[in-house]
Symmetry: C2
Subunit: 467 residues, 2 copies
Amino acid sequence: MIVPGGKAVRLAESLGAMLGESNVINSRDALEPYGKDEGSCPLHLPHLVVKPASLEQVQSVLKEAASAGVPVTPRGRGTGLAGGAVPVRGGMVLSLERMDRIVEVDEANLSVVVEPGVIVQDLHRAVESRGLFYPPDPASLDSCSIGGNIAVNAGGPRAAKYGITRHYVLGVEAVLAGGQAIRHGRKTIKNTTGYSLTHHLIGSEGTLGVITRATLRLVPLPPVRVDLLAPFPEVAAAARAVGRIVRGERVVPAALEFMDQASIRAAATFLEREVPFLDAAAHLLIQLDGKDGDAVLAQSEQVGEICLEEGASDVLVATGSHAQERMWAARRAILEAVKRLSHHSDFLDVAVPLGRIPEFLDRADRAASGAGLSLANWGHAADGNIHVAIHRREQCPGWLEAAGQLTDRIYAAARDLGGVIASEHGIGWLKRKALAASLDPEALALMRRVKQAFDPGGLLNPDKVLP
Amino acid sequence: MIVPGGKAVRLAESLGAMLGESNVINSRDALEPYGKDEGSCPLHLPHLVVKPASLEQVQSVLKEAASAGVPVTPRGRGTGLAGGAVPVRGGMVLSLERMDRIVEVDEANLSVVVEPGVIVQDLHRAVESRGLFYPPDPASLDSCSIGGNIAVNAGGPRAAKYGITRHYVLGVEAVLAGGQAIRHGRKTIKNTTGYSLTHHLIGSEGTLGVITRATLRLVPLPPVRVDLLAPFPEVAAAARAVGRIVRGERVVPAALEFMDQASIRAAATFLEREVPFLDAAAHLLIQLDGKDGDAVLAQSEQVGEICLEEGASDVLVATGSHAQERMWAARRAILEAVKRLSHHSDFLDVAVPLGRIPEFLDRADRAASGAGLSLANWGHAADGNIHVAIHRREQCPGWLEAAGQLTDRIYAAARDLGGVIASEHGIGWLKRKALAASLDPEALALMRRVKQAFDPGGLLNPDKVLP
């Protein structure tokens, strides 16, 4: 479907009158940043970008778009990796960037009300200054929006202990494709008032509705945090340590991050500074937290001992926030860093059941060797979520095709091992075909009927999620 | 809609041939237990009851029912309180009682695979014997099924710390009204492979599909548990203690149960044994748990101190499982006990934001006094979920109407205070009208379209949930 330019011009005029001209963009240069995200989706320019500032404005914009028959791509801060916010059919980008208020931090009721454009780190700071905690922490937290986090059901390192975005969303206000506002959920953990429209919308990547406000559950901020960094001479030793910590001793770390050598080195190059234990085959970065200082320290000693027994060459301990930030810098930089490894910057986002991680890494490595390609692997070892970047050792003309085939083999490995091809980055546009191979036809048909129930005209974020 | 008896007879014959005659019931006496639940929904006899034993049998049953145009009411163990499993249109009850296998406790991957008819307590025992923990613990756990728990998104005392059923369901296998099997979810916490059909089905009370298998997430069993029982001379003092524990000190108890005097006395009468502190205006029953014994003990001392400072006349401490069971006996008996208070045995199941509990109790009590009726209040003070039983002081002809009006006033109070009218017992048949008053018309219209997407013929658990 091509959107005729004339429609977009008329729409820009009527919406400009409604939202103010500065909030409606249709000049080529200004459109360009809205035609991509942080992943490898090709540029697709929208015909116009609109920036509403209220529920009512979002409703008006969607009504106008529906009556003009123009497709609408909702967008948070554009930090997605799967093309979910890229307007692949042109039409309108509905940017939520101006709806960025933290409406209320409700200490008495352990909750917060936010608009979708709030940056996740700003949310963290606002609640942590009051001793409260919103745990989900995607690596892009300094630039991604809470609306986008809800749209992809974002995770992050703390998911194994604290859960994912879905576990913290108590309710949403959203606008459907026709402009109808719906509300579901209150400031209560328990709620069985009809079908959970809240949970229907979480993870739907802007294809079912545009979230304009969300009520999130908070928990007390754990006052004690200890971080450990353990370098291992081989990946298998790190995997054994993970197994003993999580499954043997049944410790529940706040985070248990895994980085292989390629990831660590890429981060060091990107950060342009010294990163400790650069020659290790793998790092584990482990965070333990809690209310009781002695208990957290005792547990971190236990975890450190296990790492050493399994072959870690050292264990660094960080207890102050400055040292902790330094320890996490390499981990947080990996995503940007591996993009520099080659111009092909697709990151896989698979998850496998916990106990299958070593087998998965082994299969992925063997597949890469067979294809003459290299991998960087990193991720969340306590919840089985592994990110994989495929890169090339040297120039080679057919390598993108080879990378595509390798991707398919890695997805097949994840599925064979009881895992999934998409964990916390969503399906967006890039992974629709891989999704099709992961779903039963009946499940896919049902998802299409759900889409139809929410968006009968098919104008909301078309060509996303469903293949 | 009345199901003609002839249809049911023919269906009983064909299904009897398929499932074995003993698994198809259509004699009046044997049907009767399937015509009610544990709540106040009037008896509605089904025309037949079928008891499939496998996914394939459930598929066949639903296909036959669809082609005969017979409504189907799925049923776990019939312990619901809102009429969700009562066949209000007659037709067929599809009982999952024979599908009661714990298919796999997967220690390595912290998960368990169950059939829907498994009794929740059996699930608890199976995983706890291996040091693992499935936290949701509705009061009926010794008789309710996990399938029913998923269908109503059940909660229980441990929800404030550990979350509700929804937070533990990783995936489901289900059969749609036409007999199509769908599968969604694997043994991973993170999963963004398309719309979460798992979360669409959770809480849908058998109106969207019949769950035939579920994969549940487990966490390590906290090895240390301490229970405290604190009697208070007035409800306001107990409420102050709750506020200081949860909001002031930000302790996260594994359970923080509230019982008013009417509830405690009803439990004592029902149990026919001595219950301590029978004259107290309210009891708090508080459970603290964790991995570190010293930390849990220190926290329980702190919590006990707070209770005493706020006016508790005593604090009993139980650390062994026998003493703990005794301490919980009264709490677990309340539901059955308050049924004996009068033949009208509707339990309200509201939730309000944490900080609004005292205001809610106050409004409910004033409304009851105005109506000349009595209340028993009990529930989960750490997550705002309060159960209310309305009962009568003496014989009075119009009292059921008065109780209905009082219910409406209590629902209005919950809504005014930012709460919900249904928290963990579902909507079923009894609360459909109250649900209608709680939802925006647009949200309700959308829920109807979702129902249509899953069950276009409208034969699956008709007249439930949606008004």
